[in-house]
Symmetry: D2
Subunit: 163 residues, 4 copies
């Protein structure tokens, strides 16, 4: 606790208003994760909002400086995380009780820079086999420009065998 108070003091000493907003957002991610409202810290950090139907999964995230690469656009790894999550959520919703779907392969084509207010990823099923699933997804930014497309392979395995 002392360390944490010291860290907060250190950060806030030189912080701009914008820095403090980002810190608040970061702490909120931690709170959400620990409260169990979001399933992973990453999902909380990216402030993922999910809509899932039988056929597709849509995840929206706001674009925050916490997700930037050195060029101040969304880091390709964060785009990959969004794609993998949207496909993974849909894949896991489609396997039988007691089974999970783990990503075995992911391919992404980056098309345009991740800038603007938010990004929306839509994943859909391409193939549902008993052992493997194939999904595709695409991401658009708030001005409507498509910024990435991807495909993923998933292996269906019994949950007790995962990890």
């Amino acid at each position: 606790m002392e360390n944490i108070q010291k860290q907060i003091q250190d950060i806030t000493l030189h912080a701009t208003e914008h820095d403090l907003q980002l810190l608040e957002q970061l702490l909120k991610s931690f709170q959400l994760w620990k409260s169990g409202n979001n399933t992973t810290f990453i999902s909380s950090l990216l402030q993922m909002e999910r809509k899932i139907s039988d056929d597709d999964c849509e995840i929206t995230i706001p674009i925050s400086p916490l997700l930037y690469n050195t060029l101040h656009i969304v880091h390709g790894g964060m785009t990959a995380t969004l794609l993998d999550t949207a496909m993974g959520v849909l894949a896991n919703s489609l396997v039988p009780e007691g089974y999970g779907a783990v990503t075995t392969q992911l391919n992404i084509n980056y098309i345009a820079a991740g800038i603007g207010e938010h990004m929306v990823c839509t994943a859909k099923m391409e193939h549902k086999g008993s052992k493997t699933l194939v999904l595709s997804a695409e991401i658009h930014r708030s001005d409507g420009v498509k910024i990435a497309i991807g495909t993923g392979s998933f292996l269906v395995i019994e949950k007790k065998n995962i990890g």
Copy 2:
């Protein structure tokens, strides 16, 4: 500031010792990022340690619950982030002054679960053209097991045109 103090109180009220360690780590990532020691928040969050030579780039990260997916193994998106960063750092070290290399495509095969103490990603150059670069990378975990391999395409562009 008031919000932040309230958030800290709220978090620490029900926190275990382990939770507090993770919070400290998270705040340290923020500090590092703001101090400019690491180039992005993501790199700080993943606690990336880089070694770069003419031919390859090696990045090591500790495995933390902050990187977990719902199965309590490293999130595939974090593995993708590590691969993309190691390849991107090497690619950017190889283009002429005033130019940058942006990822246009990333393919990953996930081989084994991301568990254990840390992960090491090694990227190497496969092709260096004047317009495009191709790199490959692989990730091993601390027990020596290879957990992912990947390839990436990069487009060489003038820095003033990026973003």
Copy 3:
């Protein structure tokens, strides 16, 4: 010429009716190629029939034992050839006069076995930049089952610089 007549004799000596049909088909591919009706021997061999519009390119091929792998289903390399050709034809139709589009990357997910009477590949544009193009394609077989999906990256280059 003597060699060729000897080869024909040797082949036809032990040939079944079906073998002779395949030989006829093969010779027809060679004739078509040499007559310039098809642009490449491969296109002739696969008996590609193209329909191209502003937005997509559709190529249909009959399934022949000449395209089989050791399991007597269409060889994955032939499926890749069909995908690459459909995307490449569309890409090349979209670049300015004097420019060509060369494949720099191809990713394919194989979903179901290539069997039945024919395969239809439909390619569409995902991104048209001045330097790079991204396309996607999918292949269905005659019974309507989707057997593969793929994406491709293309680099736009001046024709005089190709090869």
Copy 4:
């Protein structure tokens, strides 16, 4: 038979010496395939020569105009066929008796033009699981230049379930 003789006459009427050599090569592919010396027509057409060990598989093919695309370099689909075959041969050598390995995903980065006398593809195992295999491969041309790299995913299935 009459058709075939007519086709041969038609082809040889306007054929150059080089055309006749290609026709001989084509007929030789058909002979080899039918004699059962090569496992598929495609392997015969590409004149594949295989060396396989416990750890890798090397396939060499001569570059022939039969493999050209419209730019008179090796068709990307033929490069894909070579990669898929080298990986597939190795994969199938590594699964238990009664099982086969089918390609579920293939990713290729094309690096340089396929020109010169021949191409050599070397495939190696990256991961051998009980259900899935991951392999990688690279292709060099006769002047030593690397022209493509690729990775492939394979699913292990009982032979009676294939096709």
